[in-house]
């Protein structure tokens, strides 16, 4: 096992609810809600009109820029309307294409287009990934083709498949690696071919011994399976690179600055589907879990499915106190379940009152626990105090932008201060001020 990184916390893993549940297919819905912005970067623009018939896998939108990604029809049917609905990540209304399914679930002509990606050219592979709308499926949703095309002057020597899944409760990557190891490994090999690399790591946290065993049996010699110490946030990109290579991504920099590219296990599977069959990213595995769910499950679900339907599929909720998109550490609390599953939805958590701690926060007494826990070497307490006053300029001097929003500080805070919430607020203030000054 490798040494790890500084800071971090050990929250209860809570994986037991779903880690041993095989993935079940969610049945076809009658209606899908495909958000146009399911990735980090520039939005995408709809290229279909309401009333138009679409086929499964058909491109619905075009990316507006290089750092952007298209979305695709999850099934065949009719575009009901192009409207706005609650976006689970921003909390605002976001543009959305509503598709009424015709029940036939017919592929677009020519799909799946089975082929051997290892005979394809670099440019064809890149185009396959880009046009399939593949984005980071661990939650950050950074467009994958951008990560796979380092600018000239950056030499990449390390490719890492991220199967760490350090977020408590969630098991979607775990089940994927157990049940479909070949999709993950083959996708990794395609990514290595695109990057021109001979070797790669597949990192898995030591609390998934079954996945480690399967991967060690299946992995080709050029992919080294590494078992990592259980510590949150071991799966955060920068911490993962540090643990595997002892290189630190410079502040404000990207993994490619230290020669590394990291792709989530689910993303690798999506790369494989895109390159070996031309299939766009229209479905994913997601863990519907938490003690507030009657029957927690790992579900293979189309992107655009209404969360409410998926929860009902899992027996509905009981004693539900809090609904979270994602895991308990980094996830985003929701006020409604009338939101669609997205490309980056690795899990949905419903917590009971007993599992939550909804109470008022009190004054910071500078105990320093957040400083010890911060894996980025920041002083979260200072940022939280500045957050209360909205002083984003001062926060920027205190390394605001280095925060990865992992939630370790909030987890350890004895005053129950919502530190990450304050930090996100400061970042938003700083961004809107930046946008204003640009516009002026």
């Amino acid at each position: 096992m490798r040494s790890s990184f500084k800071g971090g916390v050990h929250p209860p893993e809570e994986k037991g609810l779903v880690k041993d549940s095989p993935v079940v297919d969610f049945p076809l819905s009658s209606r899908y809600y495909v958000l146009l912005q399911q990735h980090l970067g520039a939005p995408s623009r709809a290229i279909v009109k309401s009333g138009e018939n679409v086929k499964k896998g058909q491109t619905l939108s075009e990316p507006m820029g290089f750092v952007s990604a298209p979305v695709h029809a999850p099934t065949s049917g009719t575009v009901k309307e192009i409207t706005r609905m609650v976006h689970p990540v921003t909390g605002l209304l976001g543009p959305c294409i509503i598709i009424d399914a015709d029940g036939k679930d017919e592929w677009l002509e020519g799909l799946p287009a089975v082929r051997d990606p290892f005979t394809m050219t670099h440019d064809d592979l890149m185009e396959a990934v880009r046009s399939a709308g593949v984005v980071g499926m661990g939650g950050a949703t950074f467009p994958t083709h951008v990560k796979l095309s380092p600018p000239k002057g950056k030499t990449i020597d390390t490719f890492i498949v991220n199967g760490v899944e350090c977020e408590p409760y969630l098991s979607s990557d775990h089940r994927l690696m157990l049940e479909e190891p070949d999709r993950v490994l083959n996708g990794a090999r395609v990514a290595m071919k695109i990057l021109g690399l001979e070797k790669a790591y597949l990192a898995i946290e030591a609390n998934k011994p079954d996945a480690i065993r399967v991967m060690e049996q299946k992995a080709p010699p050029e992919i080294q399976v590494v078992s990592l110490k259980v510590k949150y946030p071991q799966g955060a990109e920068k911490q993962l690179i540090k643990a595997l290579t002892d290189r630190e991504v410079p502040s404000g920099g990207l993994p490619m600055d230290v020669g590394a590219v990291v792709q989530n296990a689910g993303t690798c599977a999506a790369i494989w589907d895109a390159c070996a069959a031309g299939i766009p990213l229209i479905e994913r595995i997601t863990s519907i879990t938490g003690r507030g769910i009657v029957q927690p499950k790992n579900v293979r679900v189309r992107v655009g499915t209404l969360l409410k339907e998926v929860i009902d599929f899992c027996g509905g909720v009981k004693d539900a106190a809090k609904l979270i998109f994602g895991g308990p550490m980094m996830g985003i609390a929701q006020f409604t379940s009338e939101i669609p599953i997205m490309k980056g939805t690795s899990g949905v958590l419903v917590l009971t009152e007993k599992d939550t701690n909804i109470s008022e926060y009190s004054a910071c007494i500078s105990c320093g626990r957040c400083v010890e826990a911060c894996p980025m070497g920041l002083i979260p307490s200072t940022l939280s105090k500045l957050g209360e006053k909205g002083q984003w300029q001062k926060a920027a001097e205190n390394n605001l932008m280095d925060c990865i929003e992992c939630g370790c500080c909030t987890y350890v805070c004895p005053a129950r201060r919502p530190i990450v919430h304050f930090i996100k607020h400061l970042k938003a203030l700083s961004r809107s001020a930046g946008a204003k000054s640009k516009g002026a």
Binding site: S251, A363, S366, G368, G377, S381
Partner: protein, 305 residues
Amino acid sequence: MRQVIYALMPGALIGIYFFGFPAIKVIAVCMVSCIGFEALWQKVSKRKLSINDWSAALTGLLLAMNLPSGAPWWLAVIGSAVAIIFGKQVYGGLGNNPFNPALVARVFLLISFPVAMTTWPQPRSFFAEPTDAVTGATPLGALKTAVFEHHSVTAAPHLNFMDPFLGNIGGSLGEISALALILGGIYLIIRKIITWHIPVSYLGSVALFTGILWGVNPDVHANPSFHMVTGGLMLGAFFMATDMVTSPITNTGKLVFGIGCGIVTVVIRVWGGYPEGVSFAILIMNALVPLINRGTRPVKFGAVQ
């Protein structure tokens, strides 16, 4: 906060055992007035009432433990007002005060009412016949006098280890028993309320510094074990210097802070005008906390080397 109050119980009970009813009175007056002044201030300044966070109660108990058991009620009330209003609330309340409120009050009282603050009833059993309390010097006071007048430590009474270790000495009502305070301190460390950094670096530097002086000239310097168990050192090292609000935020900073407290304490005890320097040492180091925090910032991930 409540955990710290529990941890102070052994020390407080030893004080009550040796000083009897007057000690109970001082503790009660301090705690009630601190809570009262906090509520009053928050009412007058139209802030949210926060006496249920136990911090005012804790300040009251700490202040009481820093007073002589024979302190008159008005002294305790004035001290409480100074601690809560000038030690804490004027800075914006909990979390914003640069100095330990109880120590601000102790030093204020020591300077303003030197006689009342240095009249030390001698210990007796709680069950002993009630007689007029006999007053006398604290071991550190006796040491200072002996060194000053006779240039020799041997002239000082109480120059042993066991009496101050158990608490059978004159002194502030909550600081007489090193043993009881160490037990409370260990409880705080086990419960992860405080970390070991400040107590260990503080006590370690006092032991080291007084050890060197004793090694150089044992005639005019008391041995380190005596220094360790007397005065406010244990109360200061485990309960006052570790106040999170007024101590550095990183572990490295806490070590620097503890060592600084140790050095200033010994300098005052050995060369200063006062027999004891713990309160001043902690307040002086409190003032340096922003500087220490600046100098001991954690190295951020990916900082340019």
